[in-house]
Amino acid sequence: MKVVSLHKNYTVLIKKAKKGQRRAQHELFELFAPKMKSVCRQYLKSNDMAEEVMLIGFMKVFTHLDSFGGQGSFEGWIRRIMVNESITQLRKDKKLGFTAETEIENSMDHVSYIETELEVEEIQQLIDALPNGYKTVFVLYAVEGYKHSEIAELLNISESTSKSQLFKARKMLQSKMIKQNNSSYGTH
């Protein structure tokens, strides 16, 4: 019910924001900025950088609001913009490199298990420790739910590269987890 009412509020706000009403834009910003900053933070190592990219993303949201047809999730639409902006930022900084492809052996079996839930700060630390290439593919795949084909297109890489990046990212995370918790739940 809450979701429905929120969605209704969005449509009204979006209409007003489309007309250029500052108040509606501000309300939309207040609603989505914290989540979008979090999205940007997944790819970018500092909060300041995340906020900067988030603001650029919001500027694009408001200037291209007419291209949002109202079909599908508004949050999903903004999120996509934020992801694209984060990747653009990484490219600008020339921090986005992808290691050569490696043979992936049974990648689907590499599923890590943990005994207790990790706090979000711990997770962020783990992710921050990953190289940008690994991290970006891992977040896109594991958190945002992109398919390898989508990731390949978005990052302008091949699907196999995307898969190998994911594989390496998982392996690295696993090893880090073992180090961090001194207890690892391995792999079969």
Partner: protein, 266 residues
């Protein structure tokens, strides 16, 4: 305790996470947003003002039209009542002038006929000057009645022209009258020679006869019906002048004729 999938844990935690933006974040964003959007709201505001102004104009014009339409209906009601009055006024303006002109002209004719034998050229001049004065008076009066200017002036012109014709006729008739006077004087003298005393009744008879003859001649000579009325007006003056002239022409027998006439009058 069941082990938790690391990736599920990561996804859930990260998707739920919210990082509050700095307080200046919105201000920064607002400064980068195009200012046209403010203008858009302003434009809408101005459109609203313009629309309300147009609305007021329309309402005002409708109200004004209602008022004017009321006035026009009033005019429509008044017009038939006012127009006949104006026409009556015109008629009033025209008719008295015609009447005024006629006696004036007649009186001038009488005066002219009195002095004609002595100084015909002068009287003609005087008559012309009087006619000119009359014309001036008519035009001045006409200026007052603006609506009837054209009609009145035209009618007056025709009247004046008619009067001129009549005056000319009268001049001719005056010649007839003087002939008659000569005739009567000749007869009286003949009677005086035949009979030593001329009675008042004889003279009266002669005068009446002469007068009738003059009148019939005039009526016969007159081209228009109007001339009859004109002659009737002039009759009295003419009669007197005619008598005076007869008395004057008789000369010696003046006193006897005079006393006879006075006796008859008494």
């Amino acid at each position: 305790m069941a082990p938790i999938k690391l990736e599920d844990n990561i996804r859930e935690k990260l998707q739920e996470r919210e990082l509050a933006p700095s307080q200046s974040a919105w201000d920064k964003l607002e400064s980068t947003l195009p200012k046209q959007q403010d203008k858009g709201t302003n434009r809408f505001f101005w459109y609203a003002i313009a629309a309300s102004f147009v609305g007021l104009l329309i309402i005002g014009s409708m109200f004004f039209n209602d008022k004017t339409s009321g006035i026009t209906t009033e005019i429509v009601i008044e017009e038939p009542t006012t127009l006949p009055q104006e026409e009556n006024n015109k008629n009033e303006i025209v008719t008295p002038k015609q009447e005024e002109i006629v006696p004036d002209v007649n009186s001038t004719i009488a005066e002219i006929s009195q002095d004609e034998s002595e100084v015909p050229k002068k009287t003609k001049k005087v008559q012309n000057s009087r006619l000119a004065q009359q014309k001036r008076d008519i035009t001045e009066n006409n200026a007052n009645a603006k609506s009837a200017i054209a009609k009145v002036s035209e009618e007056n012109k025709t009247v004046i022209s008619e009067d001129k014709i009549q005056i000319n006729d009268l001049f001719k008739k005056d010649a007839v009258v003087s002939n008659k006077v000569d005739e009567i004087v000749a007869r009286v003298k003949a009677m005086q020679e035949a009979n030593s005393a001329v009675t008042a009744t004889e003279i009266d008879l002669l005068l009446a006869q002469a007068q009738r003859e003059i009148q019939t001649e005039r009526i016969l000579n007159s081209t228009k019906v109007d001339a009859a009325a004109l002659l009737m007006d002039v009759e009295f003056d003419l009669e007197r002048s005619f008598r005076d002239r007869v008395f004057y022409a008789l000369g010696d027998g003046f006193s006897t004729i005079r006393t006879a006439v006075v006796e008859r009058n008494n």
